[in-house]
Subunit: 89 residues, 2 copies
Amino acid sequence: MTATEAIGYLAALLTTTSFVPQALHIWRTRDARAISLGMYSVFSAGVALWLAYGLLVGSCPVMLANVVTLFFALSILLMKIRYDRERRR
Amino acid sequence: MTATEAIGYLAALLTTTSFVPQALHIWRTRDARAISLGMYSVFSAGVALWLAYGLLVGSCPVMLANVVTLFFALSILLMKIRYDRERRR
């Protein structure tokens, strides 16, 4: 592996795993008011397209990174909808 | 441009621009409590590495997408630190 490839893999690891603390933060506090519904709607659609792109070009790292990111982005989106609804009651 | 390339560009456009509504949401409400400091720290570091990767491989789309994303990710990170500090006073 070249140094450039290593930087690319480390970049992918960081941007993918960064959504884990965000999902856990919302899960623990049951507060998602500062989370933007627009962001996670557009972001999830974008990540789904990245996954389609990875499948079409046959790139395992792109597929893997985007499956993981899509799982956490959709979890955050669903918690946002659920916890905001609970607060309005 | 092939259909696959078009999907890739649309994916990049969506995941990049999705951070704009999140930054505006925090800016308007001055509430960043549900935002994870861990997420935006790790995410910003990851995007900076993606930018370095783009520079090293000479990829204009990777550089451009990550300059824009880094700007918004750092804005969200700085607002998180600032507004949380204001609330603790």
